[in-house]
Symmetry: C2
Subunit: 233 residues, 2 copies
DNA sequence: TCATCAAATAGTACGGTGTACGAGTCACCA
DNA sequence: TGGTGACTCGTACACCGTACTATTTGATGA
């Protein structure tokens, strides 16, 4: 009985690759492999959203049969885990934060994180309910060490980390899911306006019309960092 | 052709109710109605989670055929919308916040919000991607007016509201979805420990072992409110 | 060269899903 | 009495994840 490579590092098919190096583009079908599956899953998720990822469609894109995926992957769940962590890879160097200004470091760290998740709008909602992969842990580690070096008291460190995490997650999920177009926003705000005088403050501040997501994100982040800054020792 | 009552207020079945007032408990089947559907959906979601809500199961619980639901409700999506807003009702008076201390008001407001969502752990993840119902808007309005009365500058008001929203949403989603049991947490932290020295800070701070969710939530909220407080005029 | 064998691929099938469609049932009114 | 419109529901369809089984394939040892 063949043994699944699940749990261990997948060593890939042992089939003889065409000696012509990497460019066997349209040479029949390139073989199924975990990296290829994950990359294709990310593409599919980007293109079709969370509901668009089905094992059959994924297999189709890979030119394979649906059940073949299960040789490389335990579950559909596992595909989500792997795609998520893959989408959250650092684009470049993992050692970004090392300026003199720790505030600026934290901001850059989290803005990059957010941008990265917004590039894959399905990722933010998935993140809190999936296992923490190495890339996600890496970002958390970087955040932790930056705060620690900045002098955040040990007693406050975890609270600071989690609060920043919570903020970024919440902001990004909200951003990625809320009504995207101007029309949607106007409609929402008009619903509030029309629905009577039950929401005067929301109406006055035009809360639902606010479209400066980036600026609002930055402002809120500043609030939070300001609060954390007062707790340094 | 019969016309669906969708979009308008559902006035309920016009069938003659049994004259004996409200107690027709086990009198055959009580009629399907929007409120009953929504209430049952909340129950089902509480009991079985997001994936547990199925039109067929929901109908079963109501003693009805699956397709009968569609007379009262457009979609399964609509069921989610209604269940969500229903779950976020205020338990008691909608006018809670009116103490002298605005910070305390905001904390009470958001802690109540969080507790309410945690009572229905499916609700937090759903909230950002569904339409804002009246109860949700009510909570937002209360938050807005409290902050406004506290003297938060108009230029900062929306950012303050959204940052608090983001924080609560993020914290609650994380709390509701992360590994629940002590064992899970220890396993996660041990994965970090064992996985090498790539995550020294996380390991040292025992970030993933932290189980004081309530305290951490409150601390982070204090950070944020501290930051907002400095922006008052 | 060929038999062997595990790695890898794929087809079929099963029980589940949301819901379109059309056929009922029943209270009411002309 | 016959219709009308509110409401219920059985059937059917396309799609889902995946268990099970059969098949192909390439490397290896004889």
């Amino acid at each position: 009985m063949a043994e699944k490579p699940s749990g261990t590092e997948n060593k890939g098919p042992r089939r003889a690759r065409a000696p012509l190096q990497s460019a066997q583009e349209r040479n029949g079908e390139p073989p199924l492999s975990l990296p290829r599956i994950v990359a294709t899953a990310v593409d599919l998720l980007d293109a079709e959203g969370v509901d668009g990822l089905t094992m059959r469609r994924l297999a189709d894109r890979l030119g394979a049969g649906a059940m073949s995926l299960y040789w490389h992957v335990e579950n559909k769940e596992k595909v989500f885990d792997l795609a998520l962590d893959s989408a959250l890879q650092y684009p470049a160097s993992p050692q970004v934060a090392d300026t003199l200004d720790w505030r600026e470091d934290v901001v850059r760290l989290l803005e990059d994180w957010r941008v990265c998740m917004l590039r894959h709008p399905w990722s933010a909602s998935l993140l809190p309910r999936r296992a923490l992969g190495p890339n996600i842990l890496g970002r958390l580690e970087l955040l932790s060490s930056t705060l620690s070096r900045a002098g955040v008291a040990d007693a406050d460190l975890n609270a600071a980390i989690w609060s920043l995490w919570n903020y970024v997650i919440g902001a990004t999920i909200t951003r990625a899911n809320f009504d995207r177009t101007d029309d949607d926003r106007t409609a929402a705000q008009q619903r509030v306006t029309g629905l009577s005088e039950r929401y005067p403050t929301i109406e006055r501040s035009r809360l639902l019309l606010d479209s400066d997501w980036d600026g609002t994100f930055r402002k809120g982040l500043d609030f939070l960092i300001d609060g954390i800054a007062t707790k340094r020792e």
